[in-house]
């Protein structure tokens, strides 16, 4: 938990406050440590004109948006619109891809995430990630969850940390009697919740989820969606999803991205079309393209 956490005025009030500014996708105002619920909401990320290029070819262009603390923010859009690329900018996972470059300004709690003194390893301790395909380590359930605390040297009371994380991921009751079993023996949905537990155990500030349910059956998906709603009391969550109903069910804010082509249709990249409260995106979007997408006419 970070020290500037506010303990009052989250939830409903905050959402109403946010709704007042709903139509404005990009707020160019300066960052300041505001208390949630007292007017402007605290921002976790501020993206200002973000372009991402792989070997010089743009994958997304000109993305500007603010992501708020303790919201579930969904990124939706058709395949190839750069949702995952954008998500991976937020914890500098793109650094691992040779020739990937990020341009524009990306502030995390007001600090330049791509500043010269910022260490991507430190960034990822604070901004965890859950992937499309469950990727538990071929180790025991316990060792999977304990992995993060161990490599970060937080070895005090490891048992309690592991239990806390597994309870947080709603997996404890199912695995408490077989913590030493190999994680590969779990079902796909359990493996994904284990990956969420593994992420929670590092006590991040933000959890990024890249289509976390796309490999899961509907029941497992439902459990993970419930989990996301429960987790936002403690964490800010950004989720990429193909599933519009999922975005509608779990998120507070939704960003719709689309593929844009250049004049001769040689190059394609993702562009942010609309970013607003989820309810508004799904019931009364400002942009016709958003309406067409969420109503299933295209995409």
């Amino acid at each position: 938990m970070t020290q500037d956490e506010s303990r009052t005025g989250t939830g409903r009030e905050a959402r109403e406050a946010a709704a007042e500014r709903a139509a404005i996708a990009v707020r160019p105002d300066e960052f300041h440590h505001s208390e949630a619920g007292s007017g402007a909401r605290e921002k976790v990320f501020e993206l200002k004109g973000i372009d991402v290029r792989y070997s010089g070819v743009a994958a997304v262009k000109g993305i500007s948006m603010d992501i708020h603390r303790k919201d579930v923010t969904a990124l939706i859009g058709p395949s190839g619109c750069g949702k995952s690329t954008l998500l991976r900018c937020l914890n500098r996972m793109n650094d691992l891809i040779p020739n990937a470059e990020v341009q524009g300004e990306l502030l995390y709690h007001g600090e330049d995430l791509y500043g010269p003194t910022v260490d991507p390893v430190q960034v990822r301790k604070l901004i965890g990630m859950v992937f499309q395909k469950p990727n538990p380590f071929p180790k025991s359930i316990y060792d999977n969850v304990a992995f993060g605390p161990r490599i970060l040297g937080r070895k005090d009371d490891l048992d309690a940390t592991v239990e806390h994380a597994l309870r947080g991921a709603a997996l404890w009751e199912e695995v408490k009697d077989r913590l030493e079993d190999n994680a590969f023996g779990l079902s796909g949905g359990q493996q994904q919740r284990l990956c969420i537990a593994r992420c929670i155990a590092v006590e991040p500030d933000v959890i990024l989820m890249d289509e976390p349910c796309s490999a899961l059956d509907p029941i497992s998906t439902g459990k993970i969606e419930d989990l996301m709603i429960a987790l936002k009391d403690e964490f800010s969550i950004v989720i990429v999803t193909h599933n519009m109903q999922q975005a509608a069910r779990v998120s507070d804010r939704t960003a719709f991205l689309m593929v844009e082509l250049d004049a001769d249709e040689q190059n394609r990249w993702g562009r942010l079309v609309e970013y607003d409260d989820t309810e508004k995106i799904f019931t009364n979007p400002a942009d016709q393209r958003t309406e067409d997408y969420v109503s299933g006419k295209v995409g």
Binding site: R124, P138, I151, R198, C199
Partner: protein
């Protein structure tokens, strides 16, 4: 053409509708037989080697008691009376293999970790072929390099004085043979271990990176354990190559049976004994002749055991992500 049913809609002169093969396809059968023969050849060869070893080995043990052979440490076939304690040359093999493995394992694993986890794709594309070229250098060249360069230019100047008897003035030593063998097996360890590490799914690495793991932690805590059985298999395979190597040890480690693990002594390995004896003028059916086969049997059993271990480890490794 038949003008019935759907066939009627076919363009005139289309292919006839026939369900029978146009011929017996002898070519196919011939190729199948040829390929099967290729596969069977290796089985036949192995069996033939075993059979050819058995006869003279039994003949050898009719003269020399099995216990004296397996547990004796004096290997002096030329003396009168001769002594055939195989441990005298098993020790030579162990001596050379030990130093070779101590040299090659860290370097091989280090290059594997570097290539798999740290090197940029372009660097990997350059270094891996070079490693494979090193694997292709004839062992006689490595042996000559060990005897004429490693021994006088590296070991003797660097050896600490009279430690373990001193290195100066010795034309052959186990350590020179060991380092030569090490050079030979570095590419084996590096290449197979690198394959095992590269086969670890990228998702595991990403999972660890996303928790704030450094490259070193990802390599040592995630990739290395996940690839462990492949890595062990590479080491076992390299060991059995080291045990079986002849030319390098003959040129650099000498032909003096010596029951010791001292690296600066000249030793004779099992393979070197076979090499020297079999190229000398020994009469078929003599005890010396039969002793070659007895030593060959020991060598065969040792390397077979190691290869079986290696194969089972590789199998186990394959199961990890299935």
């Amino acid at each position: 053409m038949e003008a019935t049913g759907i066939g009627a809609t076919e363009p005139a002169g289309g292919p006839p509708r026939r369900l029978q093969a146009p011929g017996r396809r002898y070519g196919e059968k011939a190729i199948q037989g040829l390929l099967a023969a290729c596969g069977i050849l290796s089985v036949v060869t192995t069996t033939a080697i075993v059979i050819s070893l058995i006869g003279p080995t039994i003949g050898f043990f009719e003269v020399v008691p099995v216990g004296d052979f397996l547990f004796g440490t004096e290997w002096t076939p030329q003396f009168e009376p001769p002594s055939f304690g195989v441990l005298g040359i098993v020790a030579g093999t162990l001596n050379v293999t030990l130093w070779g493995m101590l040299f090659a394992s860290p370097i091989g694993l280090g290059s594997a970790i570097y290539l798999s986890e740290y090197a940029r794709p372009r660097v990997r594309k350059t270094i891996k072929p070079v490693l494979e070229i090193l694997a292709g250098i004839p062992t006689v060249a490595i042996g000559f390099f060990a005897a004429s360069f490693i021994l006088p230019e590296i070991i003797q100047p660097l050896w600490p004085g009279e430690f373990l008897g001193g290195a100066v003035g010795k034309p052959f030593m186990a350590l020179a043979g060991g380092l030569g063998i090490g050079l030979m097996i570095v590419p084996i360890i590096a290449s197979i271990s690198e394959d095992a590490m590269s086969a670890v799914p990228n998702g595991l690495r990403e999972g660890a990176y996303a928790m704030g793991a450094t490259k070193m932690k990802v390599a040592t805590r995630v990739v290395f354990p996940a690839a462990l059985s492949g890595i062990v298999a590479s080491i076992v395979l390299a060991t059995s190559r080291a045990v079986g190597e002849t030319m390098i040890v003959l040129l650099a480690a000498g032909s003096t049976p010596n029951f010791t693990l001292n690296p600066v002594e000249a030793v004779q390995t099992m393979t070197a004994y076979i090499g020297v004896t079999a190229t000398g003028d020994i009469g078929t059916g003599t005890l010396d002749y039969k002793s070659v086969f007895a030593v060959g049997t020991v060598l065969f059993v040792l390397t077979l055991a190691m290869n079986l271990v290696s194969i089972s480890l590789v199998r186990k490794y394959r199961e990890v992500y299935e």
